[in-house]
């Protein structure tokens, strides 16, 4: 039963278990890398952002998350590419227009589309490298072992742990209300009316638990000092600490470089 629940919780996460070098890195190193990718996605020209996206996707695939990358990149970039093509390639008043298959297109508009898609692909694939190789509990242990306050750790950890039970509770309320005749497939206004019937029991039940949860936390003294130590903190190394400092140093250089380049 507990194993089944754990399996359900894993399904909610994008995390893919693995033992490769990317998985073995300290979560803070991957988080710093994600920060650098976020800066680079805005600072570097389109060709570089496309290379970042390809490298990140390759890294994710090697780490065993190829299917997650394929699905997420397709679902996000597909509709975005279509919308950018229509708005910037066809409708907006960009210069350098030409005809193709009966469509009046703009060369500059299409280049702008490539720029935005490259940026989003770099941001998305960089984020995916982090979330597919970092289990939330490992991130929390890394934050704890680096001295982050327990309140911050609780605010990140607790929602991750509560999400699956709440989703299951919402499903149970939906089934119960449907058994009472609630129409989820009716007209727009019927569905609007159905909204409170699903929402209010869920929120009321959630808020009813708060006092009990707070008492349990206080009873454990989770904010007591001296702070707890993490017994199995994610491994760190001088090389990784150096890599994080280098990445943190590179970020402002990229911003300054982009300022002059533009």
């Amino acid at each position: 039963m507990a194993a089944a629940k754990d399996k359900d919780r894993e399904k909610t996460l994008l995390y893919v278990p693995g033992e490769g070098w990317l998985h073995r890195l300290n979560p803070l190193t991957r988080l710093t890398g994600l920060g650098l990718v976020a800066v680079a996605a805005f600072a570097l020209p389109p060709a570089a952002t496309i290379v970042i996206a390809l490298v990140a996707t390759l890294m994710g695939t090697v780490a065993g998350a190829g299917a997650v990358f394929l699905r997420r990149l397709t679902l996000t970039l597909g509709p975005l590419a279509l919308a950018l093509f229509v708005v910037h390639g066809m409708l907006m008043d960009h210069p350098n227009r030409f005809g193709f298959l009966g469509l009046d297109l703009s060369h500059d508009g299409l280049m702008y589309m490539v720029k935005i898609l490259g940026r989003i692909a770099a941001l998305l694939s960089g984020s995916l490298v982090f979330v597919t190789t970092t289990h939330p509990s490992a991130l929390l242990k890394a934050l704890d072992s680096h001295g982050f306050p327990p309140g911050v750790s609780y605010l990140i950890a607790s929602p991750l742990l509560l999400l699956e039970p709440f989703t299951q509770r919402a499903r149970a309320i939906r089934e119960a209300q449907m058994a009472r005749g609630l129409d989820l497939e009716g007209s727009f206004f019927a569905r609007i009316r159905a909204f409170p019937a699903l929402l209010l029991p869920l929120v009321t039940l959630a808020l009813a638990d708060i006092d009990h949860r707070a008492q349990v936390l206080d009873g454990r003294g989770f904010r007591a000092r001296p702070r707890r130590t993490v017994l199995d903190a994610p491994k760190d190394s001088p090389r990784q600490r150096l890599a994080r400092r280098v990445m943190l140093g590179l970020a402002p250089l990229l911003i300054v470089g982009a300022f002059f380049w533009h």
Binding site: T12, L13, L14, T76, P79, L80, L82, A83, V86, V87, H88, L91, M92, Y112, M113, K115, I116, R119, I120, L123, L124, S127, L128, F130, V131, P136, G151, Y154, L155, I156, S158, P159, L160, L162, L163, F166, A170, R174, L184, F188, R191, I192, A194, F195, P196, L198, L199, L200, L202, V203, T204, A206, L207, D209, I210, D211, R213, A214, L217, R223
Partner: protein, 190 residues
């Protein structure tokens, strides 16, 4: 600013409410996000700082586990928490008419914050349903920033007014035994 344990737990539950309620909207095939009910609840019960932090963490956690694209919209959620808390402090959540007006103010301000993110990061489109309206507005000769603003404001008006009304309905049903632990809530009682 140190938050007490009860407020921390409320914020954690509110983050989950934000995420799960978005799922309910998907079940009902409603063209709304309605993903800030928890943020507004916290803002009204515990103040603008707690509301803003709840909004920020909702987007961070949503981004980490479900949709990395949600991360980049965290400033919008922070503004929703700050504005809802500020309006609650001014007594706008005491009765329905002012609560509806609060929804309108939140919609306008969150749209103003969202526009630069949508235009600069996403090129004016996000791959969502509002892109049809944006494309139409551009097609009839409006500038991109105006088109994005109008499309998102229309969508946000419905979304945020519904959000504050649902939050208001929940808050008014809460027993005083529960709300008495949140001193900030006195500004919304009347």
């Amino acid at each position: 600013m140190k938050l007490d344990t009860r407020t921390l737990v409320l914020m954690a539950v509110a983050i989950v409410i934000n995420i799960v309620v978005g799922q309910i909207a998907v079940w009902l095939k409603l063209p709304i996000y309605i993903d800030a009910i928890g943020t507004v609840l916290v803002a009204v019960l515990a103040g603008p700082f707690a509301g803003a932090l709840t909004g920020l963490l909702t987007n961070v956690i949503w981004g980490l586990i479900l949709d990395p694209g949600a991360l980049w919209f965290f400033p919008v959620s922070v503004v929703i928490g700050l504005v809802a808390g500020g309006l609650a402090r001014a007594g706008w959540f005491r009765a329905i008419p002012l609560t509806v007006l609060a929804g309108v103010v939140i919609a306008v301000l969150s749209t103003i914050v969202a526009i630069p993110i949508i235009v600069y990061v996403y090129g004016g489109v996000t791959g969502a349903g509002t892109d049809f309206l944006t494309a139409y507005m551009v097609g009839i000769g409006n500038k991109l920033i105006e088109s994005v603003g109008i499309a998102n404001l229309l969508q946000n008006l419905g979304d945020k007014v519904l959000t504050v009304l649902v939050a208001w309905a929940i808050i008014k049903r809460l027993p005083s035994r529960f709300t008495s632990g949140f001193p900030f809530f006195r500004y919304s009682q009347g």
